[in-house]
Amino acid sequence: MTTQAPQETTGYAILDTAREQVLENGIGLSEAQLLEVLELPDEAIPAALELAHEVRVKHCGEDVEVEGIISIKTGGCPEDCHFCSQSGLFDSPVRGVWLDIPELVKAAKETAATGATEFCIVAAVRGPDIKLMNQIKFAIDRINEEVDINIACSLGMLTQRQVDQLAEWGVHRYNHNLETARSYFPEVVTTHSYEERLDTCNMVKAAGMELCCGALIGMGETVAQRAELASQLAALEPHEVPLNFLNPRPGTPLENQGIMDGKDALRAIAAFRLAMPRTVLRYAGGRELTLGDLGTREGLLGGINAVIVGNYLTTLGRPANADLDLLVELNMPIKELQKSL
């Protein structure tokens, strides 16, 4: 039997191509190539994850970054992101609530005690007003006085002045997700545009903050749109990509969307890593539902190199110790704090 050289290794041409292109040369896969990864048969998933893990170790190292997230302002958001229980436009059981600064500082301390190096303060808003910006400034100062941890923020769309202020105040990383592919975005959000999101992302990068820009998959997008999203994220070159899987929330337009198939989720993890070999790829919301306990292990051995520890904004995650113990078992060191600002 005549076989071509690349197929002698895995039997899947796209993975052999990826081994040379991504692993050896550090060049992420193109959108068309990513679609091939996302369409691999079930039996190819272990090989895809193994390659993604090799890519992660070679280009990012062995460390796993641990982060905690918290909502300073929950609910009552004027935007209509169809997946979000915090939109004030839907009949969701989530009530509006503000967290006071002492409780925020306490949570930062608890998060740091897990070994986490990032603490992300999130607000359910279109963008911050003066009151919220003042709260954030006060919170940053109090946390910096008492806790040794990097502070990240996620406050929606920003003006240039707000970007500059956050950078000046020492915000280490700013989160603003693309969520889904440009071609699917209007199906998910109608109160703002994809371009508005990109504008904030680009301003954050230009100001010198690390950009955290994530994805939420399983919202009814096609596999091709997942490849499109991964490619669009890669083009943006964020420092971190949190990868979320839809957890259908009561009262939202996507409440009856089925839970994403676990195998498709694993394909997506491998594909996102092969799209972005040097990016921090973080396990975020929905993994417990989509992949169960076993999925955390598979992801960490399949390209993931960061986790959100403990709970999310409105739902609960795995117990923090479960993830931390797993990192010990897998001999994966937790990334240590390097205050750069």
Partner: protein, 81 residues
């Protein structure tokens, strides 16, 4: 931590614990719902805090933190993980 099935109201959907969960139609014969009607709600409450007061079904103010949660009813006070 409160559970959905031993209280008056389900912490997840806010319906009577002895009745059908929100979003589920009445039993075809209009009879008494099955006793495990809120089983799926109970499962969900393993992965999310309660949103409704188990005593009065008021929506509660819920704050989730990385390592816990609190849920406060204006009438019946605070519960926490």
């Amino acid at each position: 931590m409160s559970t959905a099935v031993t209280e008056t109201y389900c912490g997840h959907c806010g319906e009577a614990s002895s009745g059908e969960p929100s979003g589920v139609g009445a039993a075809p014969d209009g009879g008494t719902p099955t006793s495990d009607a809120h089983q799926s709600c109970a499962q969900r409450l393993a992965m999310e805090p309660p949103r409704y007061c188990a005593d009065c079904r008021r929506r509660m103010k819920v704050q989730v933190t990385p390592l816990g949660w609190t849920a406060e009813c204006s009438r019946h006070g605070k519960r926490e993980s």
